[in-house]
């Protein structure tokens, strides 16, 4: 844990960028493969991640330190250390099974619900540790908003869906609930579409609308960070576009951490991008740099779709 912190601070500038031609692929595409970092990870090592210095300039809202996670015996996250900057959109990208969703779910401790999960290391949300024994997981989750892959509105009215987090806190005043509902529906850019049918079931909406209801639900209690777990993977392109616009809008007020499979999406909506592979952080930096001038050949190939 300590070693990785040190390395992060020292290595970002002097990490060698090797682009030698190793061997010709027998698939004949003339592809260059010298994935030193990836090969090391495949061998089971945990190489030091390449972190761009810009990340350290920003103030961190989530500070992950040497975080490891096991599902029973198999380790899903290996010694990840990263800081999520405040007031920006940070994207987690990487091929399937790279642990990006698991990392996201570790932040609001949704993984507690899975039998046999064990963690090491620390995560701090606004400087308060979230894995300390005295932390009340319920009140922790209230500080974070979460949106899932598949839109999951509850089988109740749109209004009740949005104010659910307030309801469970015992808020009964109608005026407060209505005001909060309208505010977050407006913030989720769906107020005009649903304002006349707030009492109707949320299940009658389209997938994209449902997902925006879920976003409204996630932000109604003013979370410190909004966690988005592949929020567009179950949506069509038009709905995806709307959600992306919404994310850009919301990021003016909230810190957003988004997991995505879609490289273009990461490029479009995020300010920072972290590339993960097999549970390790590989490269982390400003999105523009990561997509245009990445330090690692692996990252370049991954974001351009040549690998992964």
């Amino acid at each position: 844990m300590t070693s990785s912190v040190q390395s992060m601070e020292s290595e970002t500038s002097n990490q060698p960028v090797v682009r030698s031609v190793a061997y010709q692929s027998n698939h004949g595409a003339g592809q260059v493969e010298d994935y030193q970092v990836i090969e090391a990870i495949r061998r089971g090592e945990t190489p030091n991640p390449t972190v761009h210095p810009e990340v350290f300039d920003a103030q961190a809202v989530i500070d992950i330190q040497g975080f490891n996670l096991w599902y029973s015996e198999s380790q899903a996250i290996h010694d990840v250390t990263m800081r999520v900057p405040r007031g920006a959109v940070t994207a987690l990208i990487g091929p399937s099974g790279c642990g990006k969703s698991t990392l996201l779910r570790s932040i609001n401790r949704m993984n507690d619900l899975v039998e046999g999960v064990r963690v090491e290391g620390a995560i701090a949300l606004n400087d308060s540790p979230i894995y300390a024994p005295s932390v009340d997981v319920i009140s922790l989750r209230k500080r974070l908003g979460m949106v899932f892959q598949k839109p999951n509105p509850f089988p109740m009215s749109i209004f009740e869906n949005v104010v659910y987090p307030l309801r469970i806190d015992g808020e009964k005043r109608k005026s407060v609930l209505e005001e909060a509902c309208e505010k977050s529906l407006r913030a989720a850019a769906i107020w005009d579409e649903v304002k006349d049918r707030l009492k109707k079931s949320a299940l009658g909406l389209s997938g994209g609308q449902q997902q925006r209801i879920c976003i409204a639900r996630a932000i109604v209690a003013d979370p410190e960070v909004l966690l988005l777990d592949e929020p567009c993977s179950a949506l069509d392109p038009v709905a995806t576009l709307k959600i992306e616009e919404l994310i850009s809008e919301i990021s003016e007020r909230y810190t957003v951490l988004i997991v995505t499979h879609n490289m273009q999406q990461a490029a479009r909506v995020s300010d920072y991008t972290a590339f993960m592979y097999l549970g390790r952080l590989v490269e982390y930096g400003p999105t523009a740099k990561l997509f245009q001038t990445p330090s690692l050949i692996e990252t370049e190939h991954y974001v351009s779709g040549r690998f992964g």
Binding site: F148, F154, P155, L203, C214
Partner: protein, 719 residues
């Protein structure tokens, strides 16, 4: 792949022909045919029940049959039988008139019939007792108090006219008399009973004396009260202790709070059990005084009883003045009041209905039909259940079904919630699930035996008289056990707290052992509680006096135990249905709720339970349907052939859960196989079956309507 290989493959890959077994056409016929067979059987069953059940009240023509040997009989043809090897072609006549010593049904060979006519003045007389009477109405007379007889009407039409004028009044009077007997005399009798039981209770308590059981003195009791109040205050002050600290402290805080609460509860319990005001018993002088007041009141009541009885007799004797003479053609006998008074004609008030079947228009026949149905649904049974109504039977069935649903649904739902949501899924839960499923396959009579042995005799006996004398613990042993149980409870709670690992950590050895220890301790506590309750020397039952008189209240078959037995019988249905419904609530919903910061219970209450509610109600409906149709266990735990005292009434305590009851299922069995007059009972079997079906359908329909309303409220269109 080379050119030649490709060619070769192409050549060899000629299409294989379709196998005959791939042709699915016969399967369409087979499956469709099976469905048709099922539907036909259901349709036949339903038609049979509906047709046979609904025709039994239709007034058929009364035939006057003259046999070849000159005998004349009057009756209704109820059945025709084709020629068999043993018997000729024959007809079954309902001839009634049991009073004159004949069977009420009679087979007549068609060959012996000389002539059949349907005389206009033939009537079927439905009476309060002794079944129907066929005959010709002759007159209506009035017998004055001095024995003088005046004829009010004579012959056919005149009699009917007079009958119509007098009958309604006579019936009203009779209903009034019945009501007076039941309400006024009944309540006097009940009070006398109560008074006698009071005295009996006093005698028992005097004989028992002060048994030398431990009791607090007033001083100590008040001191304990102060301690309890102080403890409550302390627990309240500590309500947030440890919640801000690390996990070890959090646990310590929880243990202190929980132990304090357990201590307070146990202390209050002890103060209640061994309160200084208890166990004084009744002194000899008090009993004497009680006896005196009771004797006084009893005398009052008895004179009141005589007074009411006198009023009843007066009304009756006035009522008995009017008599209807209906003469049977062959013997010339008229329908008598009763067998002991065979030379007195029928009292008007004893006539339920006078049906002049042969001259009725269709409209009048429909009127008779529906008045019979109304009588059937709204009155008590007569004549060994073959006549009259089934009102108490309907009430018994409906209340039993509702009670069992009320018992089984919360019990099953809560059990299933724990099993699916809280319990750690593993070997134990699998074993429990298998056991529950197997419970559904246990023959229902086994539940009956269990209900009789456990509920009626064991639990009921305990409720009546407390623990048996020989089973009581000494008070020292009991209190030692009481304190030990309290300590174990605290210990178990602490062990359970330390069995949970810290967040993000896997369970340590200590956690695992604490888990096992907590299970062990819970087991010990359970055993202790059972022993404490069943062997307490401080409880003598709620109905001691009655039990000592040999008439147990709850220690015998009754509504409460029957509904609990059926609840147990249908429990697996509810548990399985609820579990499935809960499991069918998508995980994404739960995750969404947890993600919003909801606790487990909030998620269950706001997301899981509402989502599972239609499924849970389906389970409740299935349980209800199953329970409503059960008969076998009821025969052991409470259904009886005849009990006109309903399980609910307007007299305190309004719900008489200790009473035995009548049940439609058992009633059908009783009519079909236990009736002394099986021919008369047969149409009633069908009618009762039809009614039973209708009631079960109605109950189900009501439940289904509630469910669909709920469903519409819960969720919009499903995506």
């Amino acid at each position: 792949m080379s050119e030649s290989e490709r060619a070769c493959c192409h050549e060899s890959a000629t299409r294989r022909r379709t196998l005959p077994s791939a042709i699915g056409e016969p399967m369409v016929w087979l499956t469709g045919g099976a469905l048709v067979v099922c539907l036909t059987m259901i349709a036949v069953l339903m038609t049979m029940v509906v047709v046979s059940g609904s025709k039994s009240f239709w007034p058929g023509p009364i035939e006057r049959v003259t046999l070849t040997d000159g005998e004349v009989l009057l009756g209704i043809a109820t059945e025709h039988e084709a020629q068999t090897q043993e018997t000729a072609k024959r007809t079954l006549y309902r001839v009634g008139n049991r009073d004159i010593g004949q069977e009420s049904f009679r087979w007549v060979d068609d060959a012996q019939i000389a002539s059949i006519e349907t005389p206009d003045d033939a009537v079927m007389l439905e009476r309060e007792a002794w079944g129907v009477w066929f005959g010709v109405p002759e007159s209506i007379e009035r017998k004055a108090g001095d024995g003088e007889i005046t004829v009010l009407a004579r012959g056919g039409d005149e009699v009917f006219e007079a009958f119509d004028a007098l009958h309604a009044d006579a019936r009203r009077t009779m209903a009034q008399v019945k009501r007076m007997k039941k309400r006024e005399l009944g309540s006097i009798n009940a009070e006398i009973d109560r008074l006698r039981l009071d005295v009996r209770q006093g005698e028992i308590e005097l004989a028992r004396g002060d048994e030398g059981l431990f009791r607090f003195s007033w001083v100590i009791w008040i001191g304990l009260g102060i301690v309890a109040a102080g403890l409550i205050g302390l627990v309240y002050r500590l309500r947030s202790y440890g919640t801000e600290l690390g996990s070890a402290n959090a646990r310590r805080g929880s243990v202190i709070r929980a132990s304090g609460t357990i201590g307070v509860v146990m202390l209050i319990l002890a103060m209640w059990i061994a309160g200084p005001w208890k166990g004084q018993g009744v002194s000899a002088s008090e009993l004497e005084a009680l006896r005196e007041t009771v004797a006084q009141r009893e005398a009052e009541l008895l004179s009141e009883y005589d007074e009411v009885l006198g009023r009843i007799r007066a009304i009756e004797s006035k009522d008995h003045e009017f008599r209807l003479v209906v003469v049977e053609p062959t013997s010339g006998h008229f329908a008598p009041v009763s067998q002991t008074l065979s030379d007195e004609p029928m009292y008007m008030s004893q006539v339920v209905r006078l049906v002049r079947a042969n001259t009725l228009s269709t409209g009048e026949k429909i009127g008779v039909y529906f008045s019979r149905w109304w009588e059937y649904l709204s009155t008590n049974p007569r004549e060994a259940n073959t006549e009259g109504g089934v009102y108490p039977v309907i009430v018994g069935t409906v209340i039993l079904t509702l009670l069992l649903t009320i018992f089984v649904t919360p019990m099953g739902v809560v059990a299933a919630l724990y099993l699916r949501e809280y319990a750690k899924q593993g070997l134990m839960t699998s074993v429990i699930r298998i056991a529950v499923n197997n419970l559904a396959g246990v023959p229902s009579i086994v539940y009956g035996v269990f209900g009789l042995g456990f509920f009626c005799y064991t639990v009921g006996g305990y409720v009546d008289t407390g623990a048996a004398e020989s089973a009581r613990l000494s008070s020292a042993a009991w209190w030692a056990m009481f304190v030990f149980a309290g300590l174990m409870l605290m210990l178990g709670f602490a062990a359970k707290l330390w069995s949970k690992p810290d967040p993000g950590k896997s369970a340590s050895g200590l956690n695992v052992w604490m888990q096992r220890a907590s299970w062990l301790v819970w087991g010990v506590v359970l055993v202790l509680v059972v022993v404490l309750v069943t062997k307490t020397p401080y409880f003598h039952g709620f109905f001691e006096a009655r039990a000592h008189d040999g008439t147990p209240t709850f220690g015998t078959r009754g509504m409460l135990w029957a509904s609990l037995t059926l609840a147990l019988l249908t429990l697996p249905v509810v548990i399985v249905a609820t579990e499935e419904a809960i499991a069918a609530v998508p995980g994404s919903m739960r995750e969404g709720s947890y993600g919003c910061g909801a606790s487990k219970w909030q998620t269950m209450r706001r997301i899981v339970l509402p989502g599972a509610m239609p499924g849970i109600l389906t389970g409740a409906i299935l349980a209800m349907a199953r329970g409503a149709g059960e008969v076998a266990p009821l025969m052991l735990v409470g259904a009886v052939k005849l009990n006109q005292d309903l399980p609910i009434s307007t007299q305190a305590p309004f719900i008489h859960a200790d009473r035995s009851f009548m049940h439609l299922g058992f009633h059908i069995f009783d009519l079909g196989f236990q009736s002394p007059d099986s021919q008369a009972a047969r149409p009633m079997v069908w009618t009762t079956t039809l009614l039973f079906l209708a009631i079960v359908f109605a109950l189900n329909l009501a439940a289904i309507m509630i469910r669909s309303r709920l469903r519409a409220k819960m969720a919009g269109p499903t995506v």
